[in-house]
Each structure stands twice: as C-alpha cells, then as structure tokens.
C-alpha cells in the first residue's frame, strides 16, 4: 500500500512539473527570429514543444513530464539566440491552448 501511494505521488508530481513556461521577449520581428529561438530551445532535452508568437512577443516552452528548465537556462538560451527576455511565467496552459488562442485572435 505504501509502495502504491509512493508511485501515485511520484506520478502526480511528474504531471505537476510538466508545465508550460511563457516568456515575454523583445526584438521578435520576423520568422527567422522564431526559427533561431525554436532551434536553440529544442536542443534542451527537457523541451517537449515550442511556440513563438511575433504578435504577442511570446515564446512558450512545454517541458517533458517530470522535467523543468530553470529561468537561468531559459534566459541564457534566449541571450545565446540574440534576444532579451523581459519576463518568465509558469502556467498550466498547454501549448495547444496557446496555439488555439493565437489562431482565435487572428480570425
């Protein structure tokens, strides 16, 4: 029973940690900007998916279950791509929800 509780806890903790990180980024003006940022972030093994919105000045990263990327790592990745991070927030919105929201705004 104790073992079962431990596994349930570990599973829930993993799900809780698999979240979305949203970053406000300045200087996003073209598709090449997005391409470079995506390429850099996808090299991180904890990255599951990336969305970049030029309109919202937003870079959103979904992390893999049970994994996280620290603010310092994210800031460094963006600096190494040539951009500046103006804010980092962790949300429970999925990237699909973010994508849907961006599509809705366009319509």
């Amino acid at each position: 029973m104790k073992k079962l509780s431990f596994f349930a806890f570990a599973l829930l903790a993993g799900i809780a940690q698999a979240g979305t990180i949203e970053m406000k980024v300045h200087g996003l003006v073209c598709g090449f900007c997005a391409q470079g940022i995506e390429k850099t972030l996808r090299r991180n093994p904890a990255t599951a998916d990336v969305v970049v919105s030029l309109e919202k000045k937003l870079v959103a990263v979904a992390t893999r279950d049970g994994q996280d990327i620290s603010d310092a790592e994210l800031t460094k990745a963006l600096i190494d791509s040539g951009y500046e991070v103006k804010g980092i927030t962790r949300t429970q919105r999925s990237l699909d929800e973010i994508r849907a929201g961006l599509e809705q705004k366009k319509k």
């Binding site: 003006v29 073209c30 598709g31 391409q35 470079g36 390429k39 850099t40 040539g82």
Partner: protein, 217 residues
C-alpha cells in the same frame, strides 16, 4: 545625390532612425545559402554558417559586369561576419553588422587573377511593417577598387507571424564605384518569406530582372 546621403535623409524623414536586408547572420547554429541576380550586372552566391548568433563564417562568389565597357570581375572569397550591435526593442530590432575577408579576383581586361580583399558594414532597422537597411561593401585588388552601396526600404501590407507568409514591397537603390557602372540603379521588388525560405524578385528602372533567393536552416 549620393546614395548614402539619400539614405540618411530618407531615414530622418521617415523618423525611422536606421536601416535592414537579408542579414549576413540568421541565427546561432544556422546555415544561410543565398543567391542574387542583379540586373545582369551583378551576380552573387554566398554560404555562411553561424556558430554563434553574432558570428558567421563562409564564402561567396561575386561577378560584376560593367555596363560602361566590357570589364568583368569574378571574385571568390572567404568572409567572417560579425554582429557588432543589436537593439532588441519592444516592436522592432536594429542591427549593425561588419565583415571582412579575402580571396581571388579575375580581372578580365588584364586576363589576370589577383589577390582581393573585402570589407563591409550593414545597418538595419525593422518592425513587422517597415524595414530599412543600408549596406556598403568594398572589394579591392591591385587592378580595381569597387564600393557597392545598397539601400533598401520596405513596407509590409500586413503583419506576418511565425508560420504565416511575410510579404514586403521593397525599393532598392544600388551604386557601384570604380567606374564599372554609371549612376544609381533603382529597383522595385516583391519579397516573400516564410520560416527559413526567402525569395524576392522585381525589375530595375530600365526593366531588367533583379532577384534573390535565400534559405536558412
């Protein structure tokens, strides 16, 4: 009026500050392949790899054909590009690039190959709706010295996003010094790009084709 002074005056009038065009460095760990056909007087191909977002290394081949006489330059070079300064603004980006390199040039009137050097700089400014760049580059060998100044001013009819097609209307002015071309060559271009693929085409004032294609990956 010389092209550089015209560009600066244009920027002041537009209140835009500075100037952009195809950048010599796209992004970190990115490869850029570019080919340009300039109205039958200038043809260039380049390949660059960027180990860092501020540095790219590669080479190219430039062919200049005189519209004054039959002189021709065929310059093959290696080059390093450096992003000297970037301003990441809330809705805009501005950059200063510099570069330099060396290679070999074929000088048609002498039927000779000579050692050639090159150096250049580009200042650009862009938002999702307006775009301006001024590029100046010098190609020099014992037999010639040509400075190529290129101004581009662009406007987008709508704001593109990451996965949508970007459309730009671009006015380009270009001068080549050293007596190989006369006057400023103006061209109107339609530029389309999406993700890493870029294509532009248009016509010069005397109806000649001006085109460029680029991929970044």
């Amino acid at each position: 009026m010389n092209l550089v002074r015209f560009a600066l005056a244009g920027c002041v009038l537009a209140g835009a500050g500075t100037l952009a065009q195809a950048k010599p460095i796209a992004f970190s760990h990115g490869t850029t392949i570019m080919a340009e056909y300039g109205a039958g007087t200038m043809t260039e191909a380049q390949v660059f790899y960027a180990p860092k977002y501020f540095l790219s290394l590669g080479g190219g081949h430039l062919q200049l054909e005189s519209d004054v006489d039959h002189r021709r330059r065929e310059i093959t070079y290696v080059r390093a590009n450096y992003l000297a300064k970037r301003w990441n603004l809330e809705d805009a980006q501005a950059n200063v690039f510099v570069w330099g390199g060396a290679g070999q040039a074929y000088v048609s009137e002498l039927h000779q190959h000579q050692l050639a050097g090159n150096a250049g700089a580009q200042v650009d400014y862009e938002t999702r709706r307006i775009y301006a760049s001024l590029k100046t580059e010098l190609h020099r060998a014992d037999a010639f010295s040509h400075r190529i100044d290129t101004l581009q001013l662009g406007i987008a009819p709508y704001e593109h996003d990451t996965n949508t097609l970007a459309t730009w209307f671009v006015l380009q002015g270009r001068q080549v010094s050293g007596g190989i071309h006369e006057g400023t060559e103006w061209a109107l271009l339609l530029r389309l790009f999406r993700r890493g693929a870029w294509i532009e085409a248009g016509a010069t004032g005397d109806g000649k084709l001006q085109a460029m294609a680029m991929v970044n990956f």
